[in-house]
């Protein structure tokens, strides 16, 4: 074996090893002839009524009752849905997406937000009562504690690095107030988007290829579809969630 061949083998080995090592992580590259994906998320059937909670404790801060509309339907369009491409190894850069949540009047605001995996989540407590920020990694019907920190002081800010290894979303709860619920979608690549008020979405600059497209909603069962992105082309896929 001559020196050049040896060097070549070494190079290939190093390349393979580094590729393998980076498989789990997203790599930012220049996207050539990226395609675009668009569509709409609609909801058919009766729009479920918001859930109401009666409150007995800390009523001076939390009020006597609260409502959470888990399924928000706007003229037949379903909102609070994230549409994303699953397991994209490399592609365009992330746009800035800072997740910041405030606890006001014993509510997580916003109820639904989006953040990038590996970044910090900032949680404020604007209430004069203690809350504990209990986050869960969601996988299907399972929820597993990600972190759970007490936050007794009004005006305090809690910053926690979020790094989900398997799930794509988190639930927020407070164990001192049964009616506090919130959700965060945690993006692992930049090919995701929160649908607009009319349920429409567009994802651009996608490297050509075939992908699993998913639509994620906090309480409805996820939907998925296979999509084919051709060079500089536009693909369309619509999702329909069904009510009762």
């Amino acid at each position: 074996m001559n020196k050049v061949t040896l060097q070549f083998f070494l190079f290939v080995t190093v390349l393979l090893v580094s590729l393998a090592a980076s498989a789990a992580r997203y790599e930012v590259v220049e996207v050539q002839n990226g395609g675009t994906l668009s569509g709409k998320v609609v909801f058919s059937g009766a729009d479920p009524a918001p859930q109401s909670y009666t409150i007995d404790g800390n009523t001076d801060v939390c009020g006597n009752s609260q409502e959470i509309d888990y399924v928000k339907v706007n003229n037949g369009a379903l909102t609070d849905v994230v549409v994303y491409l699953d397991k994209v190894p490399a592609g365009k850069a992330f746009s800035d997406e800072e997740a910041e949540i405030d606890q006001v009047g014993c509510k997580f605001l916003p109820f639904f937000s989006v953040m990038i995996n590996g970044q910090d989540l900032k949680v404020h407590n604007s209430d004069a009562v203690a809350h504990n920020v209990h986050t869960f990694e969601l996988i299907g019907a399972s929820k597993r504690t990600a972190f759970n920190v007490n936050q007794p002081d009004q005006g305090s800010v809690l910053t926690k690095r979020v790094k989900l290894r398997r799930g794509n979303a988190m639930k927020l709860e407070c164990d001192q107030h049964a009616f506090m619920h919130g959700f965060i979608f945690v993006a692992k690549n930049p090919y995701y988007t929160l649908v607009a008020e009319d349920g429409s979405f567009t994802i651009d600059n996608i490297p050509p290829g075939s992908y699993t497209l998913r639509a994620w909603h906090a309480t409805l069962v996820d939907q998925e579809a296979m999509v084919e992105i051709i060079s500089s082309g536009t693909a369309v896929h619509n999702f329909e969630f069904q009510g009762e």
């Binding site: 393998a20 090592a21 498989a23 789990a24 992580r25 409150i55 007995d56 404790g57 800390n58 397991k87 203690a130 504990n132 920020v133 209990h134 869960f136 990694e137 996988i139 399972s142 929820k143 597993r144 504690t145 990600a146 972190f147 759970n148 920190v149 007490n150 936050q151 007794p152 002081d153 305090s156 800010v157 809690l158 910053t159 926690k160 690095r161 290894r165 398997r166 164990d175 001192q176 107030h177 049964a178």
Partner: protein, 799 residues
């Protein structure tokens, strides 16, 4: 060589002292004092007779005694004895006349003789020839096909272990040592099968007899015959009993006694072969052999046994350990896993495994547990997607080993100032779940769940015996462990961390304040009385009226005794998942009446319709009214000696009946006031009936800050002849029961204590207690002086 001859007198002394030491110490179980006294009398008499057999030895024997009494140069010794002997007599007399609070002696006949015939399962078994048919079949197969025989044996062991874990293990324990989760407070204690004096000494037919007929099947002479061991032939079929017997011998590595020596040899050689195979087991095989029955074959704790346990066995697929020492959200350290296996979890079904597994074997389980994790907790940071299976299990073995440990520096000393500061922090951070007094009564309206959706309740911080892991060897160590829990939280539960983890200024509670909090939490144990080891409850006499209500401050002066509650896992509809674990009792009496104050830590005031409890109510359980009861034998249904006799613990039986004082909290919706009743018990299978139009029991109660306090009062001299009289100086059996209504406890589903003794101490008569020993001492002194005087005279006259 010059022979050293011990003087005859000292020979006698040595023989007597040695005999006493042997009787007192070398013979197990301990000999009753009365028996020692009679043996010693015989021995002393024998020794005296021995030396008195000839004039010569008798003279030699008494020579030193006479010398002490007479000789001029022995006056020091003489005077000393003149002081020592009367004092000794006084002490002995005092010990025999002083008031004694020792309970009646209950000797246990360990292996009562079996009957020759046993009637169960609709047939008659001849116990003199009966062998285990499951084993017989395996041995038959062993002759022709040993491999198949080992397979059949393994299946029998598996089947038997399932029977054991669904029925027996609650009392007899995971390690078969008689220390199961609900064994506390039982008397007699559940049998320890690890003890070589138990099944290893017995034939399988004997074990079959004991299991199928239980406590009620014990012969009349077998004391005590009030064991709560059920008659299992009513619950298990014949095959299951034989299989569980195979499992018992297998689990403790023993073989049964057998008639046929040849068969016995084969059974022993099979056992040896299996044991040598097991000694070579890998971590994964040990897991399947020892852990899988509760924690599941794939670590998911989805087992039949788990359904009957509270708290549930840990599900390893979430990669979380409740009690860990790594900071923040880092997965548990290997030491945390190792310690959890080695020392177990107090108050749960998880025992410490050091008696059955070596340190190496326990360490070999760590990667097995990590391999069941589906959340990539211990998988390396840069692991490939391809290295995980579809369920998310990491398939390689290079798991992360966490070395970082949460620091416990700058510990604050345990002072009243620190405790007071800690209380303020607790009110801001802990009160919503642990309650104002720390008893774990949720004051917010959230039903707390763990990550798996199982109901969880905050710890009662006033009862450290209900804690897991956190109790240390010293106060400072325990405080450090509390600090650790408060700092890190308890992952997979609602218990949050008080340290945010990223920067110190974001911590919910700063380092020093967390130490104050830990000191405060430690101090809460002073509010409670830990469970007793004694079997006696002493009542306190008062002159004048007894307290009118449970809030009367007079109760605070009365010494409290805390007793273990165990769920009824033996009779009728059974309860496997209790929440209340102890009852604290205070007893007062005056000339006419006796009054009991019963405290039960109960996180909810379960009177159906009560708003807070209704919000917290477990949706899978119906809420019933909380209730509490005291049971006494009827007059004549018990005996304190010479052989102790008590009725069957659960409502006696037809011949030995019990009287039960019962109080029920009532409900708010529908509006039913609290009520009390006198019930008559004549067997666990009979429905308890309340005595009609009976208002002899006065009872009242209230719930506050996570605790029921109930008072029950009745006349001491029973109005109704069948009931016991509460006489001073006599020991009366009593037991307690508690129904936690929010836990779905009703009828036979409830918790109970074993039998304890109630004692109303008789008045101390000072003339008798101090006068008698003084008199005896003075008398001895006088006698001694007279003796010396006469001996000295004799000497003079001889001289």
């Amino acid at each position: 060589m010059k022979s050293m001859k011990v003087p005859v007198f000292w020979q006698a002394v040595i023989v007597i002292v040695t005999a006493y030491l042997v009787l007192d110490n070398a013979i197990l179980p301990l000999m009753p004092a009365s028996l020692i006294v009679s043996f010693m009398l015989i021995i002393v008499l024998g020794v005296l007779l021995y030396f008195a057999r000839a004039e010569e030895s008798w003279t030699e024997f008494k020579a030193p005694i006479i010398a002490v009494l007479r000789d001029d140069d022995k006056w020091v010794m003489r005077c000393s004895l003149l002081v020592v002997i009367p004092v000794l007599v006084s002490v002995i007399v005092y010990n025999s006349v002083r008031p004694s609070f020792d309970p009646p002696l209950e000797l246990r006949q360990v292996h009562p003789s079996p009957p020759s015939k046993l009637n169960v399962y609709g047939k008659t078994f001849d116990l003199t020839t009966l062998e285990n048919p499951v084993r017989t079949k395996i041995l038959e197969q062993y002759k022709t096909d040993p491999d198949a025989a080992f397979g059949a044996y393994q299946s029998a062991v598996s089947a038997g272990s399932e029977v054991y874990y669904l029925n027996c293990f609650y009392c007899h324990g995971d390690l078969l040592d008689g220390e199961g989760p609900y064994s506390r407070g039982l008397y007699p204690l559940p049998t320890n099968f690890q003890d070589l004096g138990t099944i290893a000494q017995l034939q399988e037919s004997y074990v079959f007899w004991r299991i199928t007929t239980g406590g009620v099947g014990l012969p009349e002479g077998a004391t005590p015959w009030n064991s709560v061991m059920p008659a299992w032939h009513e619950i298990l079929n014949e095959q299951e009993v034989w299989e569980v017997i195979i499992f018992l011998y297998d689990a403790v590595g023993q073989v049964p006694r057998m008639w046929d020596a040849e068969v016995s040899r084969v059974v022993t050689s099979m056992k040896n072969e299996i044991e040598s195979q097991r000694a070579q087991m890998s971590g994964r095989e040990i897991y399947q052999h020892r852990c899988a029955l509760c924690h599941g074959e794939q670590g998911a704790a989805d087992t039949a046994v788990a359904e009957f346990l509270y708290p549930k066995p840990l599900d390893f697929t979430y990669g979380l350990l409740k009690f860990k020492t790594s900071p923040g959200e880092l997965p548990a350290r290997d030491e945390d896993i190792f310690n959890a296996i080695s020392y177990g979890m107090d108050g749960t079904a998880m025992p410490g495994w050091t008696t059955l597994l070596s340190d190496e074997q326990i360490s070999s389980l760590i990667p097995v547990i990590k391999s069941y994790d589906t959340f990539a907790a211990w998988a390396p940071e840069d692991a490939d997607d391809e290295d995980f299976d579809d369920d998310g299990r990491y398939l390689k073995s290079d798991f992360r080993v966490i070395t970082e440990q949460e620091p416990t520096d700058r510990q604050v000393s345990y002072t009243p100032e620190s405790i007071a500061l800690g209380r303020e922090i607790a009110m801001d951070n802990c009160k919503e779940c642990h309650g104002e007094e720390g008893r774990g009564n949720i004051t917010s309206d959230k039903r707390l769940e763990d990550d798996w959706g199982n109901r969880v309740w905050p710890r009662d911080l006033t009862s450290p015996w209900t804690w897991r892991v956190t109790n240390g060897a010293s106060r400072d160590e325990t405080i450090r462990n509390i600090f650790m829990r408060a700092t890190i939280g308890i992952p997979s539960t609602p218990m949050p961390a008080l340290r945010a983890g990223s920067t110190a200024d974001q911590d919910s509670v700063n380092l020093i304040d967390r130490w104050h909090l830990a000191n405060y939490v430690y101090s809460l144990r002073e509010k409670s009385t830990p469970p007793t080891n004694s079997t006696v409850l002493r009542a306190v006499e008062v002159t004048g009226a007894l307290p009118e209500s449970v809030t009367d401050p007079e109760w605070d002066e009365v010494p409290a005794t805390t007793l273990w509650l165990m769920p009824n896992v033996v009779q009728g509809e059974r309860l496997f998942t209790p929440l209340n674990d102890t009852i604290t009792v205070r007893v007062l009496y005056n000339e006419d009446e006796i009054s009991f104050l019963l405290d039960v830590t109960d996180r909810t005031d379960s009177r159906p319709g009560e708003p807070v409890s209704t919000k917290l109510q477990d949706e899978n359980l119906t809420m019933f009214s909380d209730a509490i009861a005291i049971q006494f034998p009827k007059a004549g249904s018990y005996s304190t000696g010479p052989a102790v006799k008590k009725p069957q613990l659960q409502h006696g039986d037809a011949r030995n009946q019990s009287t039960i004082w019962y109080w029920n909290a009532g409900s708010i919706d529908p509006a039913v006031p609290a009520r009390s009743a006198i019930l008559d018990g004549d067997g666990a299978d009979k429905r308890l009936m309340a005595r009609a139009n009976n208002n002899t029991l006065t009872a009242s109660g209230g719930w506050q800050h996570g605790r029921w306090r109930v008072m029950m009062k009745r006349q001491r001299d029973s109005v109704e002849v069948q009931d016991v009289d509460f006489e001073e100086g006599s020991f009366i059996p009593l037991s307690f029961a508690n129904w936690d209504g929010s836990n779905g406890e009703v009828d036979s589903k409830h918790t109970l204590t074993g039998w304890y003794w109630l004692l109303l101490p008789s008045d101390t008569d000072n003339v008798v207690v101090y006068g008698t020993p003084l008199g005896a001492g003075a008398g001895t002194l006088l006698l001694g002086m007279v003796l010396i005087r006469s001996q000295r005279r004799k000497r003079k006259s001889q001289a």
